[in-house]
């Protein structure tokens, strides 16, 4: 059972906590960003957005227009912050300091790194042929990881645009990838039901965790770096509940298993570490206290 349940009018997707952990935002399947107060559980705001928009942070979202253009908005102030020309957004992620936006453009088979202040390209990074499944910066923003549906994972240095590592020996796409908060490890998981823990300098495999037992669609790492949460993915989501697993990262042991009603679209820890939020199911976000 969840410790708190937030009710949305549609299937929730990406989740983002505010930096002060007070607000949780979700981009829902009905193209609406909903915002809740974490302390009261009350829905505080709803914002209709165009289809194919992306939630970048609790108060930032990006719109994909029909003109190969991305517009970044401040959700709270309802103000346009930047227009990025010449790029079609299929996935996007904001650097932790908010200065850089990485945009995956599937048709162009690349990831664009843009400066938020100017909208100008910093680097155009060549990605795989299948479309980007997961895109994340390292905590200090120095590295960017892209997991492609063609099964390959690429890691670039954001300052130089240099491809630091291309992981080509996976046989299944990684659907989620995150660096640990200390930036020492990269953790990823996906189609092949396995959690991969890599050294974030050498990108050597340190450990594989195989206990989830189903395809993994989402993962999150606690701010203290001690706990990993993974969420399941099922093709036949209507018939098959999936699992959410809590792992002790030091030992690789499973701490807790929770049933989720449907494919887990997103998992997020609040920055203060007090909550884990899960988007899965018809119209609910479940929160667990830690």
């Amino acid at each position: 059972m969840a410790d708190r349940t937030l009710t949305a009018a549609a299937v929730p997707g990406t989740l983002e906590f505010s930096k002060d952990s007070q607000i949780l935002s979700a981009l829902c399947r009905d193209n609406t960003i909903r915002t809740w107060s974490v302390t009261t559980g009350q829905l505080t705001a709803e914002k209709k957005v165009p289809p194919r928009s992306a939630l970048l942070a609790a108060d930032r979202w990006a719109e994909r227009t029909d003109k190969a253009e991305v517009r970044v908005w401040d959700l709270t102030a309802n103000r346009q912050l930047q227009i990025l020309n010449g790029v079609t957004m299929n996935r996007a992620t904001l650097s932790p300091d908010g200065h850089w936006l990485a945009i995956a453009d599937t048709a162009a088979r690349r990831v664009e790194l843009r400066a938020m202040a100017t909208g100008q390209p910093r680097h155009q990074l060549t990605d795989g042929i299948g479309g980007t499944a997961a895109l994340r910066f390292s905590p200090d923003g120095s590295l960017l990881v892209s997991a492609n549906y063609d099964n390959d994972v690429r890691i670039w240095r954001t300052a130089s645009g240099e491809l630091v590592k291309k992981i080509e020996d996976l046989t299944g796409a990684m659907f989620a990838a995150e660096f640990t908060p200390d930036g020492q490890r990269l953790i990823m998981a996906g189609l092949d039901e396995t959690v991969y823990i890599l050294d974030a300098k050498t990108f050597k495999l340190l450990q594989k965790l195989g206990g989830h037992g189903e395809t993994i669609s989402a993962l999150a790492i606690s701010p203290d770096g001690k706990t990993l949460v993974t969420g399941g993915f099922d093709v036949l989501t209507e018939k098959n509940p999936v699992k959410v697993l809590f792992w002790d990262l030091a030992s690789g042991r499973i701490l807790r298993t929770v049933r989720a009603p449907h494919r887990v679209a997103s998992l997020a820890f609040s920055p203060d570490g007090a909550w884990v939020a899960m988007a899965a199911g018809e119209n609910e976000i479940q929160l667990w206290a830690r």
């Binding site: 042929i129 549906y149 063609d150 099964n151 996976l170 046989t171 659907f175 092949d192």
Partner: protein, 212 residues
């Protein structure tokens, strides 16, 4: 000494000179030839692309038969030819093909209903399998393709079935219902055959690759 083969343009110019090719148009010979050449090169329209989807797995074995005896699912033969946009054989092509089982489930652990076949000397490929099942995320039956060949753009696409109940008997009208297929051309007619034990369905999916 080996003679250089004349180009298509040179041959056509010789034909004009000898009276084998005559213009019945007011266009100049040069413009008419250019139009003809262009039309010839467009002989085969590149196969439309579609999305890769999340279930692709690298490293599928080269196997022609994906269906085991007694397995559930309606028998299906998928065949076709891989050519370039001039209709010519493409050297070194490889066809990755994968789909869900009869119940709409992909094999995420192994390579069931997954293969990577090499077309034969004529560019033909054929795979014995079953009709894919339906699943709620993408409620039309489909087979995924990834085709690669040296010197050509990799093609990611999907084949759909005109007989699928999803198209309600009218794929021309319903091909893009719920944004399902990237192109009407990807919805293929189905032929039914009387098999040795049970009927069998057949689709033909010819692949036209673009030069890189």
């Amino acid at each position: 000494m080996k003679l250089k083969t004349p180009s298509r343009r040179e041959m056509m110019e010789r034909c004009i000179a000898a009276g084998w090719l005559a213009s019945a148009s007011t266009l100049s010979h040069t413009r008419l030839l250019a139009a003809w050449e262009e039309a010839e090169q467009q002989a085969a329209k590149p196969t439309p692309a579609d999305v890769l989807g999340p279930f692709f797995r690298k490293g599928a074995p080269n196997q022609r038969t994906l269906r085991q005896a007694g397995e559930p699912g309606f028998p299906l033969l998928v065949s076709g030819r891989v050519v370039n946009s001039k209709g010519q054989l493409v050297e070194g092509a490889a066809v990755d093909l994968w789909h869900a089982d009869h119940a709409g489930r992909y094999d995420t652990r192994g390579y069931k209903f997954r293969t990577k076949v090499t077309p034969d000397a004529k560019g033909d490929y054929a795979v014995e399998t079953i009709l894919p099942g339906h699943y709620s995320d993408r409620p039309a039956q489909h087979i995924h393709y990834l085709i690669t060949a040296p010197g050509h753009k990799p093609l990611i696409t999907q084949a759909y079935f005109a007989t699928d109940p999803f198209f309600e008997g009218d794929p021309v009208k319903n091909w893009n219902k719920r944004g399902i297929a990237a192109s009407r051309d990807l919805i293929l007619p189905v032929k039914l055959f009387e098999g040795p034990a049970a009927p069998r369905a057949e689709i033909r999916f010819d692949i036209v690759l673009e030069k890189a």
